[in-house]
């Protein structure tokens, strides 16, 4: 690990100042991703601005029934929150499906959003990786790509976003609140993470000098009936091969409301808008669930090792929706 300077920011203003005025500075949350990457020399900041002392560690209920979750709230604190468990069970579930108990106690909400891919070649200095070194090439394409993207990938990068929590947030239409040298703004969740295109090193819409202050979750009554399902290579403590977050409201056998997002399939948490479109007003049954899954995965492309994920994603969608429909 390269030497770095360390500062703990006590208020937002200081944090933004430090971040924007210090060359090559990075924010430090729980450290569970950044410290690991620094140890691997993949991240080499000259300075760390610790955000965990900022007053962003609260979960607030909004008058409309929604929630605002501060950026430094630990993942465990979100999952144990009574309102989250009651109104957004898929969010609590997505969190407890991620990492381990210890990591969830350390990881912050913002850090979870900003965590980087687990692509094996991204982690290996001896490999070529466009994300680490733009223009170098991508060794994952002809290599081990079992964990890699089947949707939205490019010739530059086929990495996936590893977060579970973000899949639930995508389904919930969350918004990311940020602040920077130019003040505050709010970013729609689906615009926050980016597809790789030919700039896989740019992963989010966050601008230099900006930091995340929190997540807004709008009210969503029917999310009380929601599920997160994660398929992985061992029973626990492994990243998703495919995951599905869904909320479903059925009225008289027809889909009245649907939210669907996928994890483990793309460079970003994947909101399944095509499937949602197909399902709107459709019969809440296995045939239309399968049709929706087929529609969503129609553009999917497999590489040698991850072909199975296409069928796996379809089946998991059908399974989760079936369960929510009470089948």
């Amino acid at each position: 690990m390269k030497s770095f300077a360390y500062a703990r920011a006590a208020d937002l203003e200081t944090a933004v100042q430090l971040l924007s005025k210090t060359p090559n500075a990075k924010l430090l949350g729980g450290g569970t991703n950044l410290v690991d990457l620094m140890r691997e020399n993949i991240e080499q900041p000259d300075a760390l601005v610790d955000v965990t002392g900022l007053p962003l560690d609260r979960i607030q209920e909004r008058p409309d029934g929604g929630l605002v979750i501060g950026a430094t709230v630990r993942n465990t604190a979100v999952a144990v929150h009574p309102v989250v468990r009651d109104r957004y069970p898929l969010l609590a579930q997505a969190i407890v499906f991620g990492a381990s108990g210890q990591i969830r106690n350390m990881a912050t909400v913002a850090g979870n959003l900003m965590q980087r891919t687990r692509c094996l070649y991204f982690y290996d200095h001896a490999a070529r990786c466009n994300k680490r070194a733009p223009g170098a090439g991508c060794d994952a394409i002809g290599g081990f790509n079992r964990m890699h993207a089947i949707l939205g990938a490019s010739d530059s990068c086929i990495a996936t976003h590893p977060s579970d929590m973000c899949v639930a947030l995508a389904a919930l239409n969350a918004k990311v609140k940020v602040v920077g040298p130019n003040g505050e703004r709010t970013i729609a969740f689906e615009d926050f993470h980016r597809l790789p295109e030919d700039t896989p090193h740019i992963e989010t819409d966050l601008q230099p000098g900006e930091l995340i202050t929190g997540i807004e979750i709008p009210p969503l009554g029917f999310a009380r009936r929601s599920l997160y399902r994660k398929i992985r290579d061992r029973a626990s403590y492994a990243f998703a091969l495919v995951s599905v977050a869904a909320a479903l409201e059925v009225d008289n056998g027809k889909v009245r409301n649907i939210r669907l997002a996928l994890g483990g399939v793309a460079h970003k948490p994947w909101r399944a808008t095509e499937a949602e479109r197909v399902l709107a007003g459709a019969n809440a049954g296995p045939e239309s669930f399968r049709q929706a899954a087929e529609a969503e995965l129609a553009p999917a492309r497999g590489l040698a090792h991850n072909d199975f994920k296409i069928e796996l994603a379809k089946r998991t969608i059908v399974g989760v929706l079936g369960e929510l429909a009470g089948g």
Partner: protein, 763 residues
């Protein structure tokens, strides 16, 4: 096999058996579930492992590893690294001390120690695998050493490397020997018998690269004294082997090297041979002229320490109408390197398990440019049983016969290939008891016939098998005037419960309470002998030596007691009990050790003894056996597999400590679950580089992968082994992967012959 070896095998058949040890049938501490003697220290975090010894003036060393698999170093640019804060030395082939090439494993020369690879360490510019250390950075702190190591730039002249097992297996050749046995063996005309058999199966089975991944990464601390003597703390399974190998490399006398390893955080074969880091640590300490610690990172462990070879095995079985085997054909290929020369012995398994009219077994090996492969828990048998026991299951379905019954039908009366007598084999009994406890007969014969919602359910069974080994061992025994005893052996403790069992044993044999006996081990300054925590041999090897040492001590004590003692000239047998020696059947006629020593004005007596050659292992066919039963649930939608029940029924001679033995057996099964379902070292064949050198991406089983594992055992002593016991350390992993594959077939009707059985294969 050499002529001498053949002759030896013939001669031992006529050697008389040793008189059976009376302790085998005596009820004492042995056989009871005594808790580990080091338990307190382990649960309090007080047990010190290698990297945890406090040494004054310690510097930290970090290796720099090659990123090409084959070629030459053109130059090493250490300019930035040298100037990085805290750096003390950078060791490369240019300034490394001279180190001779270490010897490779040879069972006849265990006394020389051995390394996993016989390549010179840091002596030239040749690169033989990706991950080979090319430099070592020594600095004041770990952070400084790690950072400086990242600044070392190496320029290579890269050559095409041979790394793909798939592409090169066709070039495999027959090795000169497999564990000292002929690499190929034919009995009758197996091809013809197979062709004519009423029922047959013939398939290929594949197993991938695996790594041990003991949770303690390999570590060493080395310090030289002014007289040129070397002390090394090393996480090794073989302190004496490590000592002799290092002495040989540095041109030292064995007595000038001391290796210390009181607690080892798991080894599984990965810490048996000497690996580069230990020699590099000693070399770095020499160059830096101060004590140096090299604690490998997890990634370094993957790069510097080899694991299990991949394998491709063909098993063809032919049976007659009655279900008797007409032919067993078991052949295949494994990989090794030109500097490891280790063909993993999968083809020894079929030689000893089932009766068959004909047999054709053999194996080939192909050299790759990778890190040296090595022993990993039950080398040979773990992968051999996967192929063979899957094939037997396939044959059972083909014949519509119960797989347990098929195995019973082919139970041999003598060793199927050596023709020797079994010293103690009760596999059929283990199957009978296991099947009953598991409720095997309640299982529907047809696959795909049990379901629970989205989950398909199946039961599978397979045979577990691991041979018995024993090595001559030396122990030192001290009996003190306070009535206590101290057993000392250069043994190794990596979790088997070695100290606990030997204390139980010595207490029984000396007639002392447990608290009065202690055990010193993990130090090469103790009597020199090839005691290795490997081959499930350590407990038996030491026990045999403790027995002769106690006998010798007793003789000396009787002499010391002299004429004034009730023991003098006794014409009845003398027995050890109540803290001393007493006349058999004559109440308190005798004397305690304390009393004898006090009268003689001695503080203690000390004896040293070595156990004899393991002739019994040649005379008899000796092995641990077992029947593994499991229940698998397979998700129809996702292909996820969950093992929901396990029962292992074992036949491992006498169980010396049910608590620690059950843990060992369970541990093997857990590793078998990983081997079957998730573990795989990913070697990118474009470069020969391991791509998942991390515990996040190499998936060992977690808590939730493991069901309650029930263990039962026959507990029938083997009259011909020390204490009547067989090894229990490795057998647990054998048969486990096959039992799982067989259960998955029973659940789904899908036969997966290619490990690991990841969910994509079941969609």
């Amino acid at each position: 096999m050499s002529v001498l070896q053949k002759l030896m095998e013939t001669v031992v058949q006529f050697m008389p058996d040793k008189a059976p040890d009376p302790l085998i049938h005596k009820h004492g501490y042995l056989g009871t579930p005594v808790s580990r003697v080091d338990g307190q220290r382990k649960v309090k975090g007080e047990a010190r492992f290698t990297a945890e010894f406090e040494i004054e003036n310690l510097a930290y060393a970090v290796p720099v590893c090659s990123t090409i698999a084959k070629g030459r170093i053109i130059s090493i640019d250490a300019y930035d690294a040298e100037r990085s804060p805290g750096v003390i030395a950078i060791v490369t082939a240019e300034n490394a001390p001279k180190m001779k090439r270490p010897p490779l494993m040879d069972v006849r020369h265990m006394d020389k120690g051995f390394a996993a690879s016989d390549l010179a360490v840091l002596q030239d510019d040749k690169i033989s695998w990706d991950g080979q250390p090319v430099a070592v950075v020594v600095a004041e702190t770990l952070e400084q050493a790690e950072h400086a190591a990242s600044l070392v730039r190496v320029e290579y002249d890269e050559k095409a490397a041979r790394v793909s097992f798939e592409d090169l297996k066709a070039e495999a050749t027959v090795p000169s020997a497999v564990m000292g046995e002929d690499p190929e063996l034919e009995i009758g005309n197996a091809q013809k018998a197979f062709a004519a058999a009423a029922f047959k199966v013939d398939n290929l089975y594949r197993t991938p690269h695996y790594n041990h991944n003991a949770i303690e990464p390999h570590a060493a601390i080395a310090a030289w004294d002014e007289d040129g003597r070397l002390t090394v703390f090393d996480s090794t399974q073989f302190v004496n082997g490590c000592k002799h190998a290092l002495a040989g490399m540095f041109g030292l006398d064995g007595d000038d090297v001391r290796v210390i390893a009181p607690f080892v955080g798991g080894g599984f074969g990965g810490k048996a041979a000497l690996w580069n880091h230990t020699a590099l640590c000693a070399a770095a300490a020499k160059v830096a002229n101060r004590p140096v610690k090299m604690a490998l990172s997890r990634e370094d462990v993957f790069r510097l320490i080899g694991g299990r070879t991949p394998s491709e095995q063909r098993v063809a079985l032919g049976a007659d109408k009655e279900g008797k085997f007409a032919a067993i054909i078991h052949t295949g290929v494994t990989a090794t390197t030109t500097h490891a020369k280790f063909p993993e012995q999968f083809s020894l398994t079929p030689r000893h398990l089932y009766a068959s009219r004909t047999m054709s077994v053999g194996q080939k090996v192909v050299n790759l440019d990778t890190v040296a492969n090595t022993w990993m828990r039950a080398p040979g048998e773990s992968i051999g049983t996967f192929a063979l026991e899957s094939a037997i299951d396939e044959l059972a379905y083909a014949m519509k016969i119960d797989p347990v019954e098929l195995r019973r039908l082919n139970e041999p009366e003598r060793d199927p290939t050596k023709g020797t007598e079994f010293s103690s084999r009760h596999l059929v009994e283990a199957y009978r008891r296991g099947a009953e406890k598991f409720g095997w007969s309640g299982r529907p014969a047809e696959p795909c016939s049990q379901r629970d919602g989205k989950w398909l359910i199946g039961q599978g069974v397979a045979t577990a098998y691991y041979p018995v080994f024993r090595f001559p061992a030396a122990v030192r025994l001290r009996i003190a005037a306070d009535g206590s005893a101290l057993v000392q052996a250069a043994a190794n403790e990596m979790g088997m419960g070695t100290a606990t069992v030997q204390i139980q044993h010595a207490a029984d044999r000396l007639g002392l309470p447990l608290e009065m006996v202690s055990f010193r081990y993990g130090d090469s300054d103790l009597p020199d002998s090839p005691i290795i925590a490997g081959g499930s041999s350590q407990t038996g090897s030491i026990a045999a030596a403790v027995q002769v040492a106690v006998e010798k001590a007793h003789r000396e004590l009787v002499k010391l007691a002299g004429n004034g003692s009730p023991l003098a000239g006794a014409n009845v047998e003398i027995e050890a009990r109540d803290g001393g020696l007493f006349l058999s059947g004559e109440g308190n006629k005798g004397e305690t050790y304390a009393s004898i020593l006090k009268r003689a004005g001695r503080d203690f007596i000390e004896v040293e003894e070595t156990s004899g050659m393991p002739f019994e292992v040649m005379k008899y066919s000796m092995a641990s056996y077992g029947a593994q039963f499991c229940k698998a649930r397979v998700n129809r939608e996702s292909g996820e597999v969950r093992i929901s029940r396990w029962l292992g029924s074992f036949d491992c001679g006498r169980i010396l400590n049910p608590k620690t033995a059950v843990s060992q057996l369970r541990g093997g099964i857990v590793m078998g679950i990983g081997m079957a379902l998730a573990e795989e070292t990913l070697l990118d064949t474009r470069r020969g580089r391991i791509m998942n050198p991390s515990l996040a991406e190499y998936h060992v089983p977690v808590h939730l992968d493991v069901p309650h594992i029930e263990i039962i055992y026959n507990d029938i002593p083997d009259e011909h082994t020390p204490l009547g016991a067989h090894g229990v350390g490795e057998i647990g992993i054998t048969g486990a992967a096959a039992a799982i594959a067989n259960a998955i077939f029973h659940a789904t009707g899908k036969r997966i012959r290619d490990l690991p059985i990841t969910l994509g294969k079941l969609l």
